[in-house]
């Protein structure tokens, strides 16, 4: 077990180093900091001196070392556009993105689990056929088209919910701008989180159904039936528990997709979160912000992935074997 944890942590560190190398390379290769700092009248000689002082003539590795030291202490450079530390700008937008992601995950959980379970328990029932057909079609509709349709139907035609922005937010704990506590904020949250949830839902419905059907075939479920346990008890207490294991791993894998999808959703709904900020930074060639985004999101991503793997390793011992590739 210790070896498993160590190996997983080593892998996480390795990935973080690659991410930081990439984001350092962006910051290093794009634009000349000296030109950003001094005016037109400064002579070449003074510029060279400044270059030396800033350490821009050092080798790539020693520059990277300095960058990494700064990054560990939370210094990721200063955004060109906002004139503020890049990390602060990003952390400012973090609540918006997290709230969006969590509401989407919440919707997925409360819709996908009942649908998947129902489709597994009664595979021939018309409702489960409908669920399967809809989720097959849903799998083929890209997220941005889902979002566009939602905007068209609910915002333009029916005028039920606003299609852009975050609406009114309240400040809790002094740092967290939350849209959960006002009616306006919740209305703004509705469409983006629904778009995100609908785009990710079909994968989970299909997965839960497939896993549940497999579990229902197994011996211990037949034993539970023969003991005369009630149907809800068997389905929800015995079968669903074992179904959720693989679902959690796939959920971990989908974390990357979720990041990509939040970028798309936030762009469409102009949701003031990190993804929207990232696309803005790309368009403005605000390199410190781009590289800071990579490090922050990469960090969150690596931590969640490692945690999911570790939890999975705790619950399911076979994963810990060396041959877990397949």
């Amino acid at each position: 077990m210790v070896i498993f944890i160590l190996r997983r942590l080593l892998q996480a560190c390795f990935v973080m180093i690659i991410i930081s190398l990439i984001s350092f390379a962006i910051q290093d290769k794009l634009g000349d900091p000296v030109q950003q700092m001094v005016g037109m009248t400064v002579s070449q000689q003074e510029r060279d001196q400044l270059r030396n002082e800033l350490g821009l003539n050092d080798s790539f590795l020693s520059q990277y070392w300095r960058f990494a030291q700064g990054a560990i202490q939370g210094d990721l450079g200063t955004s060109y556009y906002y004139k503020e530390p890049a990390l602060d700008v990003i952390l400012d937008k973090l609540p918006a993105t997290l709230e969006l992601a969590f509401s989407a995950i919440f919707i997925i959980i409360i819709v996908a689990i009942p649908c998947g379970v129902w489709a597994a328990i009664k595979p021939k029932h018309p409702v489960s056929r409908l669920i399967m057909v809809v989720s097959s079609i849903g799998l083929s509709i890209p997220i941005f088209i889902v979002a566009i349709l939602l905007v068209y139907v609910f915002s333009i035609e029916l005028n039920l919910a606003p299609s852009f922005g975050r609406g009114e937010t309240t400040n809790i704990f002094g740092v967290w701008e939350s849209g959960f506590f006002t009616k306006d904020g919740l209305r703004h949250l509705l469409l983006p989180s629904m778009a995100l949830a609908i785009a990710l839902m079909p994968i989970f419905i299909r997965l839960i159904r497939a896993e549940m059907m497999e579990v229902l075939q197994s011996e211990y479920i037949r034993f539970a039936w023969s003991k005369g346990l009630s149907a809800p008890r068997i389905y929800f207490k015995h079968a669903l528990k074992n179904t959720m294991l693989p679902v959690i791993t796939v959920g971990g894998i989908q974390a990357g997709t979720l990041v990509a999808y939040t970028i798309l959703t936030e762009t469409i709904f102009q949701w003031p979160g990190m993804g929207f900020l990232f696309m803005d930074a790309v368009n403005r060639v605000d390199t410190p912000l781009v590289s800071a985004y990579l490090i922050v999101v990469g960090g969150i991503f690596v931590v969640t992935n490692t945690l999911v793997d570790l939890i999975y390793g705790l619950v399911n011992p076979t994963v810990r074997l060396a041959s877990h590739g397949l």
Partner: protein, 312 residues
């Protein structure tokens, strides 16, 4: 030596494919999917001949014709699907866009498959440290979704080259980025079947004959591991097309002057609020039907070739 081998193998493989084909004809949904997919391919191939207008003609863009509704609404017989904001005939633009999307999808998946097959073969056949290392890389690559990696890298390239320069390179960049990010799926599938094939006697026989590992891998093992690849191939093309569309939608893909389906939808989105829904909806429908059909074909292939694919 050659005769009995031919006698033994030829009829068997023939009847297997015949069996699959007869099963296919019996399935109405699959046949319909294949027909629609074939229609897409033919139309995409013949786009220059089929399209009512020549997109390269400078007179093609005419602001006088901007935002005309489709024929069944406006009654204008010149433009079957209406026109977009620049006065381009939507049907011609969609035809060329489909052609571009399919080309990018196919090329990207060819890169994925080549890379994945080579890595999977090497990992499965050589085993040991190499296998461990390659599969670790695959794990890491797989945990980052390809969409996320593609968005990040294309964004970096775009700020690196500048927008004007980037737009000229867009197609190559899209193919490369989508192609290089999704190899693990192929590699894992191939590796799994190589591990099974490696135990068989014909591989031992080939090794005893003193053939090189390269020859055994590519000439003996590879042909026996190809049917699972076929399944992933169709689904992956669909995924690549979706990825391309999403990237173009974000403005990181094909430019508006040379639009793929994604950039058409992106351009149309702005006019959605102004009431010109067809600029956005018609390309979207084209894209959805294409992806749906390819997924249906992939599902059907998966059920009937029944490979031990990596569970996704």
């Amino acid at each position: 030596m050659k005769y009995p081998k031919k006698d033994l193998i030829q009829p068997m493989s023939g009847s297997r494919w015949q069996h699959i084909w007869s099963g296919f004809v019996g399935d109405k949904l699959a046949v319909m999917a294949l027909i629609i997919f074939a229609f897409y391919c033919i139309v995409a191939l013949l786009a220059p001949l089929v399209a009512p207008y020549d997109v390269k003609d400078p007179a093609f863009m005419d602001l006088m014709n901007a935002e005309i509704a489709p024929m069944w609404i406006s009654g204008d017989p010149r433009f079957l699907f209406g026109t977009d904001a620049q006065g381009r005939d939507l049907l011609s633009v969609i035809l060329y866009g489909t052609r571009l999307s399919l080309t990018i999808g196919l090329c990207a998946v060819l890169i994925q498959a080549t890379l994945g097959i080579c890595i999977g073969l090497a990992a499965g056949y050589l085993g040991g440290r190499i296998d461990n290392f390659l599969m670790r890389c695959a794990d890491i690559q797989l945990s980052f979704s390809n969409m996320m990696v593609a968005i990040v890298f294309l964004a970096i390239f775009q700020s690196l080259f500048g927008v004007a320069m980037y737009q000229q390179l867009a197609m190559v960049m899209l193919i490369l980025v989508i192609g290089l990010t999704e190899w693990p799926l192929f590699a894992r599938t191939i590796r799994a079947s190589v591990l099974a094939e490696r135990q068989k006697e014909y591989v031992d026989a080939a090794r005893v004959m003193g053939l090189s590992s390269k020859r055994i891998m590519f000439r003996h093992i590879l042909p026996n591991t190809l049917s699972p690849v076929l399944v992933i191939f169709t689904v992956q093309i669909a995924n690549a097309i979706v990825a391309e569309a999403a990237l173009s939608f974000l403005g990181l893909g094909m430019p508006a002057t040379e639009p793929s389906l994604g950039s058409l939808i992106s351009a149309g989105f702005a006019y959605m609020f102004a009431g010109s829904w067809w600029i956005c909806v018609l390309p979207s429908m084209t894209l959805i039907i294409l992806i749906l059909v390819m997924n249906l074909l992939g599902d059907w292939l998966r059920d009937h070739l029944n490979p031990r694919t990596y569970k996704d």
